[in-house]
Amino acid sequence: MTIKLPAVAFRNIFRNLRRSILSAVAIAVSAMSIMALLALLECMETDMAKNLTSFYTGQIRIRNVDYEKYERYNPLHLSVDIASVLPVAESVDGVKAATPRINFPASLYLNEKNNGVLGVGIDFTKDAAFIDFDKLVTEGRIPNAGANEMLMGSILAHELALGVGDKVTMLTTTATRGTNAMTFKITGIASFPVGALSSTTVYVPLDRAQYLLRMEGQAQEILLLTKDGYKEADVAKDVKQALLSQLSLETETKQWKDLNTIYSFLVIAKFIYYIIGAIFFVLGSTVIINTTMMVIYERMREIGTMGALGMQGKELTKLFLLEGSFISIAGSTLGTLIGVGIVFTLSKVGLNFTEVMSGVDMEISSILYPTVNWFTALFVWIYAIIISSLSTLIPSRKASKIEIVEALRYV
C-alpha cells in the first residue's frame, strides 16, 4: 500500500487538537525546566571556578609539603620562602601570574568582645591579576603596602558597625605559636561576590601580615594563573619539578580542581542532572504515551480498515510514531525556546541567592547570571525529541499487533 505516512501523521495531529496541545505542553514544560536547570548549573560551575581561582586557590597552589597534613593546627610556620620560590615558579613556561598570600584565623577586638574573622595577607599589586579589587571596593580605597591598613568585607563591616576611617585591633596566633595583636585602620569596604567573603574576611597588606604573624619573607601559599592553551595539571607538574630541581624543595603543588571537592561534586552533579533530565522527559512523555494509546483505541476500526486495505504492521507503527514525534518536536521546540527566553531574561536581571546562601559555606556568588548556551539548547531540544519519540514507540507497536478482523468489529 502506498501512502504518504508523514502527511497522514501530520494531519492526524489536528483531529483532536486540544489533546495534541496537551501532550506538546507536557513535553514543553519538561524541556523548559531542563533547559533552565542546566543553564543554572553551568552558571554555578563557571561562577564557582572563577571564584575559586580568584579568591581561594588560584589555578595552581604551591604550599609547604607538610602544610596539608597539619592544616587543622594552623601551622603558619610551615611556609614557603617568597624570595626563592616565586621567581622559580614565575619562570616556568605557561605561568601567567603569581602571587603570595597568607590566610590566617583572627579575631577583631571590639567592645571587649572578640569577633572571629579570616585574615588574608595579600600583595595588592601582584594580586591584581587574580582579584579585581578596584571593582569590588564600594567605599574608600585599597590598603597601601607598609601601612597598618585594612580592607573589610561589606557584610562584616555592617555587622560590626565599622566604616572607612575606623580603627580595629586584630588578635591572632603567630607562626611562632604565640599570640600578637595589631591595630589597623579601615581604608576600604569591599563587596565580594561570595557572601562568606563579605561576611568574614579582612584583607591586609602582605608585609603587615608577615610582621603580625612573625613570618618575615614567608608566605603560607603562592598562587599561580596559567596562560591560555596550557593545561593546569601539566603546568603544576612542571612547577613542582622546577622547585625540586632548582631549589631541592619538595612542595605541595596542585591544580585547583584537585583542591576543591565541592567543585568536583558540582561536576558530578551535572551528570546527575542529565539523568534527572531524562526522568523528567519520561514523566512528560507519559502524557504523549497516554494520548497515543487513546488514539489507537479510538481509531481501532480505522486501523482495521487500513490493515484490510493492505497496510503493513510496521507502517502502522511508523504512522503513530510519526504522529508522536511531530508532537514531540513541537513541544521540545516550544519548551526550549521558552527556556532560552527565561535564561536570557535571568542573564540580564540575575538570580539573587543572598538570603538562601547566607550561612552556606560555598564558593558560589550570591547573585548568579546564567547565560544562554546554544549548545545546551540544542542538546536539550534533541534530547527531548529523542526521549519523547521513543516513548511513543511503546504504544505505537501495539497498533501493529492488532488483529484486523477484531479491529473491524470494534465499536
Binding site: P75, Y109, K167, T169, T179, A181
Partner: protein
C-alpha cells in the same frame, strides 16, 4: 584509785593529746600553701618551654607580683618582646606593642592558652585565695618522689573556677605542691602538674621547675622555670595600673 593507775592514765593522755590538739586541718594546709605562693611583693625572671608536635619553643619573661591578686608579666623573648599580661583584682589585660588598645580578657577567654603553651592566662596569674573558691578535704598521706605529702581534694564552691576538682600532693614540711591533678566535676582529667625541682628563697621553698601537661592537647607539655626570684622588693606604686601598662 591507786597512784599507779593515775600515773598511767596521765601518761596516756599526754600521748594522745598532741595528735588531737595539734593535728593540722586541711584548711590550714591550704592556707600554708597559699601563703608560700603569696608575697608582699616579688620580682622574678624565667622561661616557658613548650614542646608540641612541631618541636620545642622557649619564651622568656619577667614578672612582678603584689599580694594575692596583682601580677604583671612581661615577655622578653624575640617573638613576643614587649607583650604584657596584667592581672588586677577581677580583671586581666593583655598589652601588645603594636595594638593601640588593651585587650581585656574575661570569662572563658581566661582559659585560653598563653603563647600556645599548656598554661592558661588564669594559671599564670591566678589569685592565691583557694579557700574562697574551694572546699577542701584531707584524703591521707603518701610519699611522692621521696617527699612525705598530704593528699588533698579541693572541690569548687562556684562554677567560676577553671578546675572544678583539684587533687594535690602537698609536702608536709615545706608545703610545696609537688603534684596536682586538675579535673572537671565529672572527674575528666584536664591538666597534670608536677614540680621537678625547688629553690630556697629567704626561708621559703619555692618551685623552680614545673611541668604542666594539658590532657586536652596531644603530644604537648610545658616546662615553666624560674631563673631568679626576689621577694619583698620595692615596686613602683603604679606598676599594676593600666597607665603603666601602655607606657
Amino acid at each position: 584509785m591507786s597512784k599507779k593507775i593515775l600515773t598511767l592514765l596521765f601518761a596516756l593522755i599526754l600521748l594522745i593529746l598532741p595528735s588531737t590538739l595539734f593535728a593540722i586541718t586541711a584548711e590550714e594546709i591550704v592556707k600554708s600553701m597559699d601563703a608560700l605562693a603569696t608575697y608582699d611583693t616579688s620580682y622574678s625572671t624565667g622561661s616557658i618551654q613548650t614542646t608540641d608536635r612541631f618541636g620545642t619553643k622557649e619564651s622568656t619573661f619577667k614578672a612582678w607580683t603584689k599580694g594575692t591578686s596583682e601580677s604583671l608579666i612581661e615577655f622578653t623573648s624575640t617573638a613576643e618582646r614587649g607583650q604584657k599580661i596584667l592581672r588586677t583584682k577581677g580583671s586581666l589585660y593583655l598589652y601588645y606593642p603594636d595594638a593601640e588598645e588593651l585587650i581585656r580578657l574575661q570569662g572563658a577567654a581566661l582559659r585560653q592558652s598563653v603563647l600556645g603553651s599548656d598554661l592558661s592566662y588564669e594559671d599564670m596569674t591566678e589569685e592565691k585565695t583557694t579557700l574562697n573558691d574551694y572546699t577542701v578535704t584531707l584524703d591521707g598521706s603518701e610519699v611522692y618522689n621521696g617527699h612525705d605529702c598530704y593528699i588533698l581534694t579541693l572541690t569548687a564552691k562556684t562554677r567560676q573556677v577553671a578546675y572544678p576538682i583539684q587533687k594535690v600532693w602537698v609536702d608536709k614540711e615545706t608545703y610545696v605542691t609537688w603534684k596536682g591533678e586538675y579535673s572537671t566535676s565529672q572527674g575528666r582529667l584536664l591538666k597534670n602538674m608536677e614540680v621537678l625541682s625547688v629553690m630556697q628563697v629567704a626561708d621559703r621553698t619555692i618551685p623552680k621547675e614545673t611541668k604542666i601537661d594539658d590532657a586536652m592537647k596531644q603530644d604537648s607539655s610545658t616546662m615553666m622555670t624560674f631563673d631568679t626570684l626576689q621577694i619583698n622588693v620595692s615596686l613602683d606604686a603604679n606598676l599594676f595600673s593600666l597607665e603603666n601598662l601602655t607606657w
